[in-house]
């Protein structure tokens, strides 16, 4: 019985290991698909930008300032800070920007309603004008050409949402920020781009991205009862025959957590939201007639990413148990040891990070690679804990709560650093 269970764990881990290898090889040696990056000249559509903000007094000014400086035609851009029930100075700061830039910023001060980003975005949809809207979290700092780069893929009538690359700006602060910087590199530079290369399922990440209004209407808008509105949207669009596109050149700075407890809360929220979507849509995804076989498989594997952390812990537990009970599971322990090395972490495995650092031309930060084991271990434990509490909560019928990621920025950031 234990051996059978252990075999299942090994098979699952090997599948993810193979997936990571395929992605890395595709990114390093394969043909790179960036079919929309050359669109520099076109009839650009009217675009609304939603800035999701809940108690963001430390960061929102940088985001608004950067958006006012983008090179997208100003007469085709509507900036909507979505101030979701903030209790700090966020409202005051937004209103100050509105007063200084008349006609360019149209704030939505949300004072009630259901908490959470998805609910706030759902309410903010009535402020959206035009066929496309982009979403930024308030701690993001877009570059000058970012809006055009994110809008260009929408000229393809099959594209329902677009995702850009997230680049940490507070890298040098602490060990945790340096480790998250490496993890983000692997996740975007290799994992997302490889999925784009292979025609699989790039993921809309909820920020530094955009959505086609018509596609969102077709799937009946944002789902409110989810902690991962981004993954939920990716999957529902996919099921409805819309594609998500990743644009590696559309880079945007973000602030990553600087304290481990903040990071733990963040990844637990991601894990719970992701698992919610997995439970809801895995079966529909695998059966969907709108998708190719590879899209179905990759979609299902994508949804299972966070579920692999408890599976891995279970594998370790079984390996130790089997070893000390004298059962020899056909060398499975050795396989587990090797495969576990490649499935740890949030999307990015060790060699994906190494490949990303190489592609980013980062020569020294790659030295930190052995230390990512620390970050990955924290992730595995946190994600497993999230999965466990999620199961318990669902048995008890408790509702999942949204928890905002704490910001630590204290001074405005100079752009172009």
């Amino acid at each position: 019985m234990l051996v059978d269970l252990f075999t299942v764990v090994i098979v699952l881990i090997c599948v993810y290991t193979l997936r990571h290898y395929v992605f890395t090889i595709s990114r390093v040696f394969g043909r790179q698909r960036q079919p929309y990056s050359d669109v520099d000249c076109a009839d650009w559509p009217f675009v609304t930008i939603l800035i999701a903000a809940h108690n963001e007094e430390a960061v929102i000014s940088d985001c608004i300032r950067a958006l006012l400086e983008v090179d997208y035609p100003a007469d085709k851009l509507k900036i909507v800070p979505v101030n979701d029930r903030s209790t700090d100075r966020t409202r005051e700061i937004i209103d100050d920007w509105v007063a200084r830039n008349p006609g360019r910023i149209h704030p939505f001060h949300r004072t009630g309603g259901k908490p959470g980003k998805a609910a706030a975005l759902r309410d903010a949809m009535r402020f959206v004008k035009g066929s496309i809207f982009l979403v930024f979290d308030a701690d993001y700092i877009p570059g000058r050409s970012l809006i055009r780069e994110l809008v260009a893929p929408f000229f393809d009538p099959e594209v329902g949402s677009v995702m850009g690359r997230v680049v940490p700006i507070n890298v040098g602060k602490k060990l945790i920020t340096r480790l998250l910087d490496l993890e983000r590199s692997g996740g975007y530079q290799v994992d997302q781009q490889a999925r784009m290369n292979l025609g699989l399922v790039p993921q809309y990440g909820g920020t530094v991205g955009g959505v086609r209004v018509g596609a969102l209407d077709e799937i009946k808008g944002w789902a409110e009862n989810t902690l991962a509105e981004d993954t939920d949207l990716t999957v529902r669009l996919l099921l409805a025959g819309w594609k998500t596109v990743y644009v590696n050149r559309a880079e945007c700075y973000e602030e990553v957590p600087e304290r481990w407890p903040v990071r733990v809360r963040q990844i637990m929220r991601w894990a719970k939201g992701h698992n919610q979507v997995m439970v809801r849509y895995s079966a529909a995804l695998l059966r969907s007639p709108n998708l190719s076989i590879r899209e179905r498989l990759d979609g299902a594997l994508l949804l299972g990413v966070y579920a692999m952390a408890p599976v891995l812990l279970l594998g370790w537990l079984l390996a130790v148990t089997l070893f000390y009970t004298g059962v020899e599971p056909w060398g499975g322990i050795a396989v587990l040891a090797l495969a576990a090395f490649t499935t740890l972490g949030n999307f990015a495995a060790f060699y994906e990070i190494a490949a990303a650092a190489r592609l980013d031309n980062s020569r020294e930060r790659i030295c930190l690679l052995p230390l990512t084991l620390l970050g990955f271990t924290v992730s595995v434990v946190s994600v497993s804990k999230a999965a466990w509490t999620q199961v318990i909560d669902s048995i008890r019928g408790a509702e999942l709560n949204w928890q905002k990621t704490e910001r630590t920025r204290v001074a405005p950031v100079a752009l172009g650093q």
Partner: protein, 325 residues
């Protein structure tokens, strides 16, 4: 010994040699940026007014005048140069460094130029090659068999003669061969300004998709297989094919054309654009893509355009582009 692999990690953690944010793009990607940089680089030559002066990187710059022209053919010119007025080069020249001409410029056949900024009109002789970029504030005419490697841009019109090869070209209008028909100034159907804003339905085909001669279709088309559009078809919407995409002669598409395979556009078509392929685009004579009022982008690894094609905006051939019948 077990801790030895951690030594580089701990050293980097302590010394923080690579702890700044990864650089993100800060420019807007415009071709004109090169021209502006060259103007700034050669500013000392423009200010001083002598025959030469030292530039900010220590290299000696040179001022060109008409009387210098006879001495220029033969050996490569290895200094950056600035001409304060129009120049005609009757014999082949080779500029290894950048050249800025504040007026019109005419280059002889078989010239070789690295990077050129011309504030008037420019004419490149037969088989003349541009190695990096050329930006012209007026009109640019590239002679037969010319090579525009890198970027070529003009505020006015760029004319590419038969056999010209190119990579990235941007202008108000790009004409292959001699333009014989009148340019459409605006889209004949009108409607939404951007193809993205077209409020029409969407048709998804799990296989191939065909439109017959003289059909009219309103809506976006997404096909998992090939798309074949016959002659004189009107499509109010965009078209996407996972495989190849063929458009018959005289057809009119009021939207975008996107394909993961090759795109073939026959003669006398009109496409509002953009036109994007992940393999190859072949455009037949008399076809117009974009309008002066609504410029657009044609992009593929390989682009072949016939004489008589007009594109308003950008053509980007990432591997190779050629004017060929």
């Amino acid at each position: 010994m077990l801790a030895a692999p951690l030594v580089p990690s701990l050293r980097e953690l302590y010394r923080r040699r690579d702890a700044t944010p990864l650089p993100t793009r800060t420019d807007n990607g415009r071709i004109e940026n090169f021209a502006q940089s060259l103007r700034e680089y050669l500013a000392p030559l423009m200010r001083e007014g002598g025959s030469s002066c030292r530039l900010r990187d220590g290299i000696q710059g040179r001022v060109l005048r008409s009387c210098d022209i006879p001495d220029l053919s033969g050996a490569p010119i290895e200094t950056p140069a600035f001409a304060p007025h129009s120049l005609v080069f009757p014999l082949p020249v080779c500029f290894v460094r950048d050249l800025y001409i504040r007026g019109d410029a005419q280059f002889a056949n078989d010239s070789l130029l690295r990077a050129v900024l011309v504030e008037g009109d420019a004419v490149l002789g037969e088989r003349t090659s541009i190695a990096r970029w050329i930006h012209v504030l007026g009109n640019l005419e590239a002679g037969p068999q010319a090579g525009l490697f890198g970027r070529a841009s003009a505020i006015g019109t760029i004319t590419l003669r038969h056999g010209t090869v190119f990579e990235r070209v941007r202008a108000g209008s790009i004409c292959a061969g001699t333009q014989t028909k009148t340019l459409r100034e605006t889209s004949p159907v009108g409607g939404a300004s951007s193809p993205i804003d077209l409020r029409v339905g969407r048709v998804r085909s799990h296989g191939d998709f065909h439109l017959r001669d003289s059909d009219a279709f309103q809506g976006h088309i997404v096909a998992m297989g090939k798309v074949a559009i016959a002659d004189n078809v009107l499509v109010i919407g965009s078209v996407k094919a996972r495989s190849s995409l063929e458009i018959g002669s005289g057809s009119h598409l009021e939207g975008t054309v996107v394909s993961r395979g090759a795109i073939s556009i026959a003669q006398r078509c009109y496409i509002k654009g953009p036109v994007l392929s992940e393999k190859e685009i072949v455009i037949g004579p008399g076809t117009q893509i974009g309008t002066p009022a609504s410029p657009t982008t044609v992009s593929a690894p390989r682009v072949r355009i016939a004489p008589g094609v007009v594109v308003c905006g950008t053509i980007w051939a990432r591997e190779s582009g050629e004017v060929t019948a």
